[in-house]
């Protein structure tokens, strides 16, 4: 196996709130290989965005605090890097795109101003070089008439086009890693597919590693090689995509897969959901965070946090119960 590009080790992030200390990320470890697309799946508040923002020092501190861990990018710990070094890495080596392209671009500046400032800063482009490069990037992401549109303001673009601009901006320094935080969630379904295809295309062209944060398993199946499933600030299951879909081992993963609407089932059947609410991170139960909502729960799940167990096909999961040989609560009579 090749040397990983990024190694996150026991990352913990806390937020001080009025209700107490919230452990938004609680001991997360993972690797990212060059050219790989890693999916991070989970509900809102599961810690998937915070994990990535924390790596780049984008958590407001206070109230946030990174209480432990390492995030090695090419053997350099991002969590202890000083602000200046982090600025050099952000946008140059590790770039991000965000969920809502309507608000993620600055409405007061033209696309040209926003695109060129990255390359002028990191690649020391001259004014003319930077504009030429910006136009080239916009063409690569499929914006027609890029040489004119580059001087437009974000509000003159549609949502899908703005997300293309965001991608062009993120990729303009040819970064090693692209962190995409729900890049297609705010878009129409047809535009979503286009954006994902575009990202796949650009990945093959540039060899960029992608961390795809999403709650959409369709996106995961479409684009990812490996998946982390997060719940309550912890990774509850990790596997490559095919194994995860074929053989989910954690009850939460099972629930997620079950709640995807399918075209081949009886339409009179009600859509399945995972009962209950996402956990209150300020008051997590002592054992497994998923315990209150789990259909497979046993008494021991309340006493201690289940350790990570190896999956036969690589990866691991954190559950005491063998979901293949235990019936879920609703089927027991």
């Amino acid at each position: 196996m090749t040397e990983p590009l990024l190694q996150v080790d026991d990352l913990r992030v806390e937020f001080r709130t009025d209700e107490g200390v919230v452990r938004a990320v609680d001991g997360v470890s993972f690797d990212l290989a060059p050219g790989e697309t890693l999916g991070i799946v989970g509900e809102s508040g599961s810690g998937k965005s915070v994990t990535n923002l924390a790596m780049l020092g984008l958590i407001p501190q206070p109230p946030g605090r990174i209480s432990s861990g390492r995030a090695l990018y090419r053997d350099e710990d991002l969590l202890t890097a000083n602000a200046q070094r982090l600025s050099q890495i952000r946008g140059r080596h590790i770039a991000m795109i965000f969920q809502d392209p309507m608000t993620a671009l600055n409405p007061f500046l033209t696309v040209e101003e926003q695109l060129t400032e990255v390359t002028r800063l990191h690649l020391r482009h001259s004014h003319d070089e930077a504009i030429a490069h910006a136009i080239d990037m916009l063409e690569q992401v499929g914006i027609t008439g890029a040489d004119k549109r580059v001087f437009d303001y974000p509000h003159q673009f549609s949502g899908g086009m703005r997300q293309r601009v965001m991608i062009a901006m993120a990729l303009s320094c040819n970064p090693d890693i692209l962190i995409a935080d729900e890049p297609s969630t705010a878009l129409d379904v047809t535009i979503q597919a286009q954006i994902l295809d575009l990202m796949k295309q650009l990945q093959t062209d540039h060899g960029t590693s992608i961390i795809m944060i999403t709650h959409d398993l369709g996106v995961v199946a479409n684009i990812c090689h490996r998946v982390l499933v997060m719940y309550g600030g912890k990774i509850v299951e990790r596997a490559d995509v095919d194994s995860l879909f074929a053989n989910p081992r954690h009850p939460y993963t099972l629930g997620l897969l079950d709640s995807v609407p399918r075209w081949d089932t009886d339409i009179t059947e009600k859509l399945r959901v995972i009962p209950g609410q996402p956990p209150d991170l300020a008051n997590l139960p002592p054992g497994c965070a998923f315990y209150p909502r789990c259909s497979y729960r046993e008494d021991r799940c309340q006493q201690s946090v289940p350790p990570a167990i190896e999956r036969p096909d690589g990866g691991d999961f954190a559950c005491f119960v063998d979901v293949d040989n235990v019936k879920p609560a609703e089927e027991r009579t």
């Binding site: 600025s87 946008g91 608000t103 600055n106 800063l121 965001m166």
Partner: protein, 310 residues
């Protein structure tokens, strides 16, 4: 540019209508208040009184007075002042307004520079000691009355340090103290507005994007956040500038400045109808002018704002 001209022409019609409404309402309101310009004077024999009043057409029926004065006002002539003998209203305003206006502009420049700087610094270092001290200072600036501040400033800069003159008009040195005293509450208010605006903008998604691009904090603040943060300040500046340029009774009295601040109050108390109407019209025109400039500033600050749609 064509868009701006169209905008101005469309606005001009509305402005004239607004001015007329303000003029008319002020005229009848003032005359509706009991009393007249010569009530305070002792024992005027009825004949003398009649004569004096006839000199200012005060015996004509009110509608006649109104149309007389309006037609002259439309030609730019507000008539003779009743209580300041031998001066026309135009002369009084012509002398006082430039002084009040320049003092006001100095005060506003001071207030904007200090207020926005303090507001930005407070927002970036929020909940720090610096933020706390600036906001206490801002509250003091708003809460402490002008005359207290002016007296303190005179004691400190005139008598203790002997750096600046205490009163008078004509040199730059004489403007500094009154401009600071006049501008202080505005500076306080502007700093709070800037801080709030900045905090709101700093929480926006595009600021996170800017940081994710690797820009330094200074660059993110100056290039990405400042414009958005100044929008509320600009809205506030329109009426504030108009108010401050038409003079302040207190500051002009304390520093013995021949501005027009006192005319507002005295003309109303003394029922000097022509002078009161004159200053009201000047003030209204100034408010409308400033609001137009605010609209232009919006269009300059925010590319999404189209003058044609305002």
């Amino acid at each position: 540019m064509g868009e701006s001209l169209q905008f101005l022409f469309r606005r001009a019609g509305w402005y004239l209508a607004t001015m007329w409404v303000v003029y008319t309402v002020s005229f009848f309101l003032m005359h509706a208040v009991p009393g007249g310009p010569f009530d305070a004077e002792r024992n005027l024999p009825p004949e003398v009184r009649k004569n004096v009043e006839a000199q200012f057409n005060l015996n004509d029926p009110l509608p006649v007075q109104y149309f007389d004065h309006l037609t002259r006002a439309l030609r730019g002539d507000f008539g003779a002042s009743i209580k300041i003998p031998d001066f026309t209203v135009n002369e009084i305003i012509g002398q006082g307004f430039p002084i009040s206006a320049s003092l006001g502009l100095f005060a506003m420049v001071f207030a904007v520079c200090l207020g926005t700087t303090a507001g930005v610094v407070s927002a970036i270092r929020r909940e720090s000691f610096v933020d706390f001290s600036f906001m206490v200072a801002a509250t003091l600036g708003i809460a402490v009355p002008n005359f207290v501040l002016a007296s303190l400033a005179i004691i400190l800069f005139v008598f203790q340090i002997q750096l600046l003159p205490a009163a008078g008009w004509g040199s730059l040195k004489q403007i500094i103290l009154p401009a600071i005293c006049l501008g202080a509450p505005y500076a306080g208010y502007i700093s709070r507005l800037t801080r709030t605006g900045m905090l709101e903008v700093l929480g926006r998604d595009y600021i996170r994007t800017a940081f994710a691009k690797g820009l330094s904090e200074r660059r993110v603040v100056v290039r990405h956040a400042l414009r958005g943060a100044l929008v509320p300040v600009v809205s506030y500046l329109g009426p504030a500038v108009a108010g401050v340029m038409t003079g302040s009774l207190v500051v002009e009295k304390i520093f013995a400045l021949p501005g027009m601040g006192s005319h507002f109050i005295e003309a109303a108390f003394q029922r000097d109808y022509p002078l009161a109407l004159g200053v009201v019209v000047v003030y209204t025109a100034l408010v409308l002018l400033m609001n137009t400039m605010v609209d232009f500033s919006y269009a300059i600050l925010d590319p999404r704002v189209k003058l044609g749609e305002l």
